[in-house]
Symmetry: none
Subunit: 228 residues, 4 copies
DNA sequence: TATGAATGAGGGTTCATTCAT
DNA sequence: TATGAATGAACCCTCATTCAT
């Protein structure tokens, strides 16, 4: 959950004028937009992107469909805002948690556990964004966030892994691309399972996964389970 | 890709008469159903479950929509058949590949590589079933395969891991449920990426992932990268 | 009303298959399409192109909107068919009437009177096509038949005028482009007035207009109102 | 372009109070109304009446839709004002040009050329009013200016023709109603063509049309092309 | 005066499904 | 067996209009 700056995150920023000029948002407008984005997150998390119609989202708030289209250019615009908002929130959350993290392999554990903490705190956010990344397509079937979202997330992890290997000579010769993919996939899979089983012990999964990937990275001789 | 027997796999079984009586399928009927299932797989793999309308599937075969609904009760019925068929095919493929596999940790590598071999041989099968498992819902948003599919796959891997640990004392104390989830998630994620990048070196991913999880399982002292 | 061959006239021809291949039309299909085109003509003539929604056209026939979209790709497709159909009918009508016409200036009179005869026989056809040519635009405001229709009609008249001048040396030095425009404009204007006043003596207008333009073409010495 | 007095021309007149009482307009109010009317003309000329939404007109001025509805009762009210304003402007323009015109047939030429001069000077005015006269309808499809506009214009020409015939005995026995319709139709058709081809040599059309109708009116013996 | 906010009707279109043939 | 025909619900979106501020 990183790198919000590479996605347009506009929820609290500026509207686009009739003339195309940026215009600061009203208090009411900002509030409404946030409210709609929140409802969209919940509805998408509950029924899935494909079934999350504007009508359903509007119903959830007990407003008319028109309100949504007054505040957003169209459904795609709303979804992009959902993604930007959730991504940005998550990114900030994770970054802040990682500041205190040690360097080296511990950094990865910090990342994974931060992701899971976010998932516990805002499960719908995570469920929704994962679903959007997988399902959101326009009429032709072209994915809306095909590369933007999943690749972004994986790339962020990949960078973390490369840093990690540079700062710690004792790692195995793992392929950072493959490892990053596996890590993100594992995290997202827990989001899926969490949706089905809301009582899931997410923290346990976090700890176990961190250990799993630590072992895969540190290799046989340097682990806490060292030789001798 | 296991355990088809726990899903309804009806492609070669029985039809239901308009009197409600079950009757064996004719050869033609079986062929038509298989043809339709195949087309559905291709269309879903190409445009995604949500965009895979009956019309699109019918177009692919140059038949009318009605034919599909003559052979299947409805769209849901067709999708269930797709899942059953693909699952069964994949399960047989993987099982056969694993017969020759050594016991112990090698078994896991054999499983992963078999999955990837299947993915290379029948990419659309895998892409489609992964998409269905994630996206397929009815009108209310209720998932069609919420537990059936993903849990099934993970459970199969989990059993394999438990067997593995029983037959090989030198493993780490990993949690089989978590490890199984991570393994399946990694495999499915490659299917996703394969859809985006058809030239992906799937075998490389297979080998790397196998090594990754081997390391996580075998722990520090027993790996091929042993201590000395 | 000429030159149907330069517009796609498909009412009695072929459908386009799912595969893009042409396919002969069912009897029923042809009949339905004709019925829908007829209703569209009437509705457009009555309430104008902009107000002629699919719902209104469907209501007129007491069928559902879906039927129209089953037989036509979309509203634009239907409108194109309306234009092609009306144009072709009118063109055949006018051409047949003109076969018996004398050469020289009489040809123009024959043309004008044929147009008016068609207008009397099928007023809605003419009212509708004139309205479509003027009003039909897509979402951006781009005209659907901007050049196709009006220019076509004017060009046809222009050709007739050039032939006429070649075969009859005694004409004035009128500009065929301007004259053609004036002739078509006058004819279309009568269609407009006919809509408002259904009891209009169209034949009178026809004769008078023919005389008017004859005078403008033949000049002072050659007219039936000759010197002496 | 005549006879504004027979249309409600209210741009500089009176507003209606919320108590229902009429009150004179403030300077600002008049200016705003004129501004909005001008924008409406431009938008209608550009995209056509049917696509000229209040939003589009407001955008053009960088104001909110509400402003328009503050100054005008509704869209229909605005359109009526547009018509009244353009009509009045055009009528004054043409009348002034015609003052210097000779009597007799020259009067008609002066009229036609005045119309074309106006068209060159204010093309959007003419394009817009022609489009409105043809397309503007309310929700039921009832025309807004069904008789008012086109009949008005034709009647004005008709009067001119009758005067002309009274003052000049040597004309043919043309029907003034038909001739007037043909003249107006020709002028309006050039407006249409001008929209499509902004570089059109409008003056040429004006001269040619004037000659065309002169010939039709003066007949064989009295024309400049006289019989020796 | 002017705006932002909201509404509700209606627009075209897609789609799974039903049914007679 | 298979098709063409038709339906009706749902979809996203546009628009003129209302209203409180």
């Amino acid at each position: 959950m990183h790198c919000v700056d590479r996605l347009d995150y506009t929820l609290t920023m500026r509207s686009v004028d009739r003339t195309g000029a940026a215009r600061p948002r009203t208090f009411t407008e900002t509030a409404r937009r946030a409210q709609i984005v929140g409802a969209a997150v919940d509805v998408i998390a509950e029924v899935g992107y494909a079934q999350a119609s504007l009508a359903r989202i509007a119903d959830q708030l007990d407003i008319s469909k028109g309100v949504i289209l007054y505040h957003f250019v169209g459904k795609e615009d709303l979804v992009r805002e959902v993604v930007a908002h959730v991504w940005s929130k998550g990114e900030a959350f994770v970054r802040q948690r990682m500041q205190a993290a040690p360097s080296g392999v511990g950094k990865l554990r910090a990342y994974i556990e931060a992701c899971f903490a976010y998932m516990v705190g805002y499960p719908n956010d995570v469920i929704a964004i994962v679903d959007i990344a997988r399902s959101a397509r326009d009429a032709d079937g072209t994915r809306l966030f095909d590369s933007a979202l999943p690749i972004q997330a994986v790339t962020d992890v990949q960078k973390l892994l490369i840093d990690l290997r540079n700062s710690d000579q004792g790692t195995t010769d793992f392929d950072p691309a493959v490892m990053a993919l596996a890590i993100r996939a594992a995290i997202d899979a827990v989001a899926d399972r969490l949706r089905r089983e809301p009582d899931l012990d997410v923290d346990l999964y976090g700890r176990e996964l961190a250990t799993l990937f630590e072992r895969a990275i540190r290799g046989p001789t340097k682990g806490s389970h060292s030789c001798q």
